[in-house]
């Protein structure tokens, strides 16, 4: 295979798209549309955490471990949303249907702060327009099912701006192929 340098050294940030869980996944080279909504501007670094510690087994015949297993694993996306429309805020807290608009005057929008006991499940895309390691092509992480975790804490300051720090926790999606149940990474190659 031809060298993938310099494209395989990735630089840049991702756009976050959100949709109701079960929404069809767009092709990698298609800008998400329809029920897929870009989740506002983000600030700072974004990351995808492949979590889960291995357990190692030993026996009396060897000094080192002889077997390792991964009894649990998690995939968690971390990012910070600074585009704080009430629609974005609601998607992160609970769901966008919680936004109520009134004509006024004054015209208003309102969301409840209570998140409730039931978590809203979403699908998420973390997409980079030129994030493929094989050329100036798109690539994206696809998370078909997950929920917002954590305790977002928008903080107001004279020289700062409030933000919602998001931890998007992947749930297994049994409607996907076995290997893809916790999401996948897809990159265009040509």
């Amino acid at each position: 295979m031809a060298s993938t340098e310099p494209f395989d050294q990735l630089t840049g940030t991702l756009k976050i798209y959100i949709a109701p869980q079960g929404e069809a996944i767009p092709a990698v080279n298609t800008t998400p549309a329809g029920n897929w909504v870009e989740l506002g501007a983000t600030d700072g670094e974004q990351s995808l955490e492949h979590a889960g510690e291995n357990t190692y087994f030993r026996d009396n015949a060897h000094q080192g471990p002889v077997k390792g297993v991964r009894p649990e694993e998690d995939v968690i996306a971390h990012f910070t949303v600074v585009g704080l429309t009430l629609e974005n805020y609601a998607r992160i807290l609970h769901q966008v249907s919680q936004v109520t608009a009134a004509g006024g005057p004054p015209a208003t929008k309102k969301i409840p702060l209570k998140r409730g006991a039931t978590l809203t499940e979403y699908a998420l895309l973390l997409r980079g327009e030129a994030m493929s390691p094989y050329g100036i092509f798109p690539a994206m992480y696809v998370i078909p099912r997950g929920v917002f975790d954590g305790q977002p804490q928008p903080t107001f300051a004279k020289d700062g701006r409030p933000a919602l720090e998001c931890d998007f926790y992947v749930l297994e999606d049994d409607s996907q192929a076995d290997a893809d149940r916790m999401g996948w990474l897809i990159a265009q190659t040509a």
Binding site: E5, P6, F7, Q9, T11, G12, T13, K15, G128, E129, A130, M131, G135, I136
Partner: protein
Amino acid sequence: MIDPLEAVINLARQDADLNALVEQRIAARHKFGVKGATGWPVPSAALQLRYDGGGTPDTYTRRSRLRLEARCYGESQAAAFQVYARLIALTRRSTRVLAETGGVAALIDYLLPDSGPSFIQDPAAGVDAVLVFLKTAVAEQAAA
């Protein structure tokens, strides 16, 4: 090895809005006071990009990480700021980009502002300018 300054200059030249503003006067060395067709009128909108000498060398991979000095010229401070604003718009992209250099493509990982703007009057040219510093990373080998 890719000339990273040439790559960034060509990236700026690829921007139609910026080119329309400066009428293709983008170079590593300004041409104010140069006689003949290649000279730039004094004053006029233009962009000079040159090495600043800063930046942290990438000692591990084949990538040039540099600090550049940009002088955004204009007929007035307001006109110079228009050139600056268009240059800053170039730095707002969040993804990598290709720029042609000497018949091959250069991969520019990023081009970002590294300072705020300063209004100056270029001492040599006597033209109003906005001075701003940029940081960039450009792959040393051709991308295609």
